[in-house]
């Protein structure tokens, strides 16, 4: 099922959940130009001084995106509904016999609610601001800023995704952790992690998920900047991300022979690794290894992406006048 049409993000409108949820992003939003656009102090900057512009762009965009409360609420309602459909379907499959199921129904329910809560972390699109810059040619100005363009865009992508997820995940937690058990449907709510170790590893893995998601958004940004259009990359990103992250169906349900390969590819770190750690499907050293893989892919994408962006920006030819 697809959530969102042009929700799909744009390709899905729908989107995942359906590949097509409605896109709730504001079409454009002006970037604040706070301290960020001032060159870092040449003397006595030190590390904190060097980080100032990136923290400023993060904070500015984070606060801005939090303003879109109606979009967050609509997203929350949509995600509750899709979560309910998915859970009812899982329940019907499990009712027919679960001898070959790789996880329990309770695990699948936890996985589904987490997937809906963190849906906005999925890197389906390029950053809409950068898309607009590429469309207008303003992307060339990015080279004039006395900051590292990769780090600048990365900070923006992080703020964008975290600010969109926070209100939705909070509402979803209130719904799945508090409200559903309160009305006496506890078995359909979100179960707690089995032990403190799982909870701790999950917290670390969520951080990995956030950093990985932003690094993939940057890859889409870079491909878009190189191609001067967002159509191709955004069209292809959504189906690949949905399938290989485990959003369509947990990766454990795919044939056993494919599982080692599926867990090793980078998109698994967006959904399957953190959520499997949550319910104990990945634990102990296997969980630690999966988290290491998550951070390893993130580091590789950041290093490779930064080199690639440098090349793209040097060869950039903008249109418009």
């Amino acid at each position: 099922m697809t959530q969102r049409g042009e929700w799909l993000p744009s390709p899905l409108r729908g989107g995942v959940g359906g590949g097509g949820l409605p896109d709730d992003l504001p079409p454009t939003e002006k970037t604040p130009r706070p301290a960020a656009s001032q060159p870092p102090s040449p003397r006595g900057g030190g590390l904190p001084g060097a980080l100032t512009p990136y923290l400023a762009v993060f904070a500015g965009r984070f606060q801005l995106m939090l303003q879109y409360r109606a979009a967050a609420f609509a997203g929350f309602i949509t995600q509750c509904w899709f979560g309910i459909i998915r859970i009812l379907i899982f329940a019907a499959f499990y009712a027919g016999g679960s001898a070959h199921a790789p996880m329990t129904l309770s695990n699948a329910i936890a996985y589904t609610w987490l997937g809906q809560a963190f849906l906005a972390f999925l890197p389906w699109n390029a950053d809409p601001d950068v898309t607009e810059m590429v469309r207008t040619g303003a992307v060339a100005y990015e080279q004039l800023r006395p900051v590292d363009t990769y780090a600048w865009w990365y900070a923006r992508a992080l703020a964008w995704s975290i600010a969109r997820v926070l209100p939705r995940a909070t509402l979803m937690a209130a719904f799945a952790v508090v409200l559903i058990p309160l009305v006496g449907l506890g078995e359909w709510g979100m179960p707690p992690p089995p032990n403190a170790a799982a909870a701790g590893l999950f917290a670390v893995s969520v951080m990995g998920m956030v950093l990985l998601s932003a690094s993939i958004t940057l890859v889409i940004n870079i491909v878009m900047t190189a191609m001067l259009t967002d159509r191709g990359p955004s069209t292809l990103a959504a189906p690949i991300v949905n399938l290989f992250s485990g959003m369509v169906v947990p990766l454990a349900f795919f044939p056993d022979a494919a599982r080692p390969w599926l867990r090793a590819q980078p998109f698994a770190g967006l959904v399957d690794i953190p959520f499997s750690i949550y319910f104990g499907g990945l634990s102990g050293w296997r969980a630690v290894g999966a988290i290491a893989l998550q951070f390893g892919w993130t580091a590789a994408l950041i290093v490779g992406g930064r080199i690639w962006l440098g090349r793209v920006m040097r060869r950039l030819v903008v249109q418009g006048g």
Partner: protein
């Protein structure tokens, strides 16, 4: 010029416009196809593990899935004008111009855009349905084809009715209400599986409140020649898609009510 010919002109203009960027169009269609096909790969993976759901096998579910996917892609392609009504027409005041023209507003909104990108989902739906036919041996007899055509027409009417209601709400809310997506995209997603797999309360919503089950599940049973496992009387099954037209009729009635209340929001 009659309304039908006029709609033909609208559609032809929209199609020509989209073909002026053939590469982009092809890519968007391919994207729609891929996004919806991977959803079915998920269904396949679940059936490999579980074998059946509510007594249905993969081939059976593919038939239900393909039917609703075809229906929804057609409705989604044709109703763009109602979908963006709040943000594009009410908020900007552009709707005032439609009111000045000597044609019905519903015809003009239907003519707003015929979205060819939805062909991607249409291909997926037809493909999934063909998989279902191959797996189950389902035959497209003339009777089955008549029932399915009626089901598709009723389904397009139902989804269009939902979009008309969403647009009507924009008279009051100004913005397009995204929450209606839970009934359009969400309804489509729910109808991918036969209704008997769901809990009773959810099934009742999808049969009586928003009769998606009447335009997909019940007529598909009639076409397959299978009785309803939930016990709906046999004569109801092929006639159920009429509920979609009834729903559209109610939606258009509410639309006219909203239209009377409309006071321009533009500047």
């Amino acid at each position: 010029m009659g309304p039908l010919r006029l709609y033909g002109r609208y559609a032809a203009a929209s199609i020509r416009a989209q073909f002026s960027y053939p590469g982009t169009l092809a890519m968007m269609i391919a994207g729609q196809f891929l996004v919806t096909v991977i959803e079915f790969i998920g269904v396949w993976a679940l059936f490999r593990r579980f074998g059946q759901i509510g007594g249905w096998r993969l081939g059976d579910v593919a038939l239900f899935y393909g039917l609703v996917s075809v229906t929804f892609s057609l409705a989604d392609a044709a109703t763009r004008g109602f979908d963006v009504f709040g943000s594009v027409f009410v908020k900007t005041g552009a709707f005032d111009r439609l009111l000045l023209r000597p044609r019905s507003t519903t015809l003009q909104l239907m003519g707003y855009e015929l979205r060819l990108t939805r062909v991607g989902r249409l291909i997926q739906g037809v493909g999934v349905f063909a998989v279902g036919m191959a797996l189950t041996g389902f035959q497209l007899t003339p009777a089955a084809m008549a029932i399915l055509a009626f089901a598709i027409a009723g389904g397009v009417a139902l989804f269009s009715g939902l979009l008309v209601m969403q647009a009507t709400l924009s008279f009051w809310t100004v913005e397009s209400l995204e929450a209606v997506n839970i009934l359009t995209y969400g309804g489509e997603a729910a109808a991918e599986y036969p209704m008997n797999v769901y809990a009773a309360w959810f099934r009742d919503v999808l049969t009586f409140a928003v009769p998606i089950g009447c335009v997909t599940y019940l007529p598909m049973l009639a076409a397959m020649g299978r009785p309803d496992p939930l016990g709906a009387p046999g004569w109801v099954l092929p006639l159920a898609p009429a509920a979609g037209f009834l729903f559209l009729g109610i939606a258009l009635f509410v639309w006219r009510f909203g239209l009377k209340r409309y006071a321009s929001a533009g500047g």
